[in-house]
Symmetry: C2
Subunit: 266 residues, 2 copies
Amino acid sequence: MPFVKKRTNTSDRTVKKDDVTDSAVGHRTEVTCSQCEFSGFLQLFNEMPLELARIFLLRERKVLKGEVLFREGEPFRGIYAIKEGGVKSCLLTPQSTERILGFYLPGELLGMESLRATHYQTTAIVLEPGRVCCLPLDQLELLGDSYQRFQEQLIQTLTNHLAQQQQQFVLSARQSAEERLAAFLLNMAERYARHGLVGTSFRLIMLRQDIAYFLGISIETVSRTLTRFQTKKLLLAVGKQIYLLDTPGLQAIAYSTPPPDSAPAG
Amino acid sequence: MPFVKKRTNTSDRTVKKDDVTDSAVGHRTEVTCSQCEFSGFLQLFNEMPLELARIFLLRERKVLKGEVLFREGEPFRGIYAIKEGGVKSCLLTPQSTERILGFYLPGELLGMESLRATHYQTTAIVLEPGRVCCLPLDQLELLGDSYQRFQEQLIQTLTNHLAQQQQQFVLSARQSAEERLAAFLLNMAERYARHGLVGTSFRLIMLRQDIAYFLGISIETVSRTLTRFQTKKLLLAVGKQIYLLDTPGLQAIAYSTPPPDSAPAG
DNA sequence: CGCTAGGTTGATAGAATTCAATTGTAGTGG
DNA sequence: CCACTACAATTGAATTCTATCAACCTAGCG
């Protein structure tokens, strides 16, 4: 894997589609984690000492829509950080429909459930082209002193993932399709808002079909419920683009109570 | 019966309710983790060095039905290990119905999602009286060499919890009530079977109401689906006692595959 | 221009929720 | 031992919701 020097002069070139295609595989930029735009964002690297950050040079690479980052059963190579674009994680079922476990946005980590396993336990598919990094966490044991501090961060990260996963589970255990979809949209909005984007306007990275599988309802119900939300002036949906018009109203539906909680622990 | 400890002389006394009451709080047995009946079972302590195991003497105590192990928002004291009985974990919603996150059986760990937080993120309520241990994992940092090895075990445990949680999420995203309930019962059976109990006969620790909240269906549907399973000769339900009569049949419902001749990956 | 995949809408049968009534069970005290 | 109470669980009937099958619409694209 040939590495390029840091940051030559990509910014003054107009990015055409061909660039995406030809550089999709193998094109990697040598940037340490601390130099990465997400270094202060991904808590996993918050206080990562420099010598440790250098160990895994961020092997950033572009990915195409439909590309498989890793497949269930493949030997574990590492977890992935999304830098741009979007990914879905799912289980492959023999002949029936796939089971979607979650969606991942820029700044989020993916594949942690396979961390200490020999093989990946899920499959990750790119929904929206962008950039990802593979972090070979299994090589960390080579380290000495910094290792322990990093482990603590890793435990922190895993714990947070666990809490988030539980939150997600609670959302999915809601009864009606309206509750589920409202909770889902609010969750997406919150996650987009984390990246400095406006929390009321965002673009869904997944198909209606994916939402349906994820929430355990049919694709037609997703569509119909979205339409109903629009007639209620709760939001505006133009294809994948979503504009939330009445967040409190959606919260009332999602939590079937007047908006109670303000801000959960970050 | 897994709990055959070298007792003093409790067996020759008839256990009355009063005993449970007076020893419910504060009565602790000083046993190191390695002497605990679950030491070889809880992977977290699998290879725990002795000097480390001695750090937290298992502060086992009896708990009563309805007792709150920890409440959402309380300062974090440690995670809990169930040694006997059963516990449910839930989120408290302002005035509406509680959201149930999961159920915990003997040999399982509880509260890991709050591990590196300052306060508990969930509430744990005892469903079936028994014995629990509080493990003050925040005090571990006092340790030296053994610490790192333990951290690795902790990461392993957290990773497994994450994978299980995802599995649970997938189960809950199933569409029909039959699928969900069948999957739930099979999951319970599997977990009971882990403790050397027969996997086809067990006693539910929770109310129908709890199951309903957990699965996101109504309590009446739980009841009706159970009776439907009984008329199909899939199981026998006498109150909380469950006898699985046709496990493959239930699997066929839970995983919506006609004949699961070969066992799926497990 | 017509193709195709994704998305929406309609009609209908089946499933689940809801309200309501009934039965069952455990605990209490006379 | 029994009635009494409170709570849990079941069952019934009507309404509401959802899945399903189908047709139609839309946008992107060669």
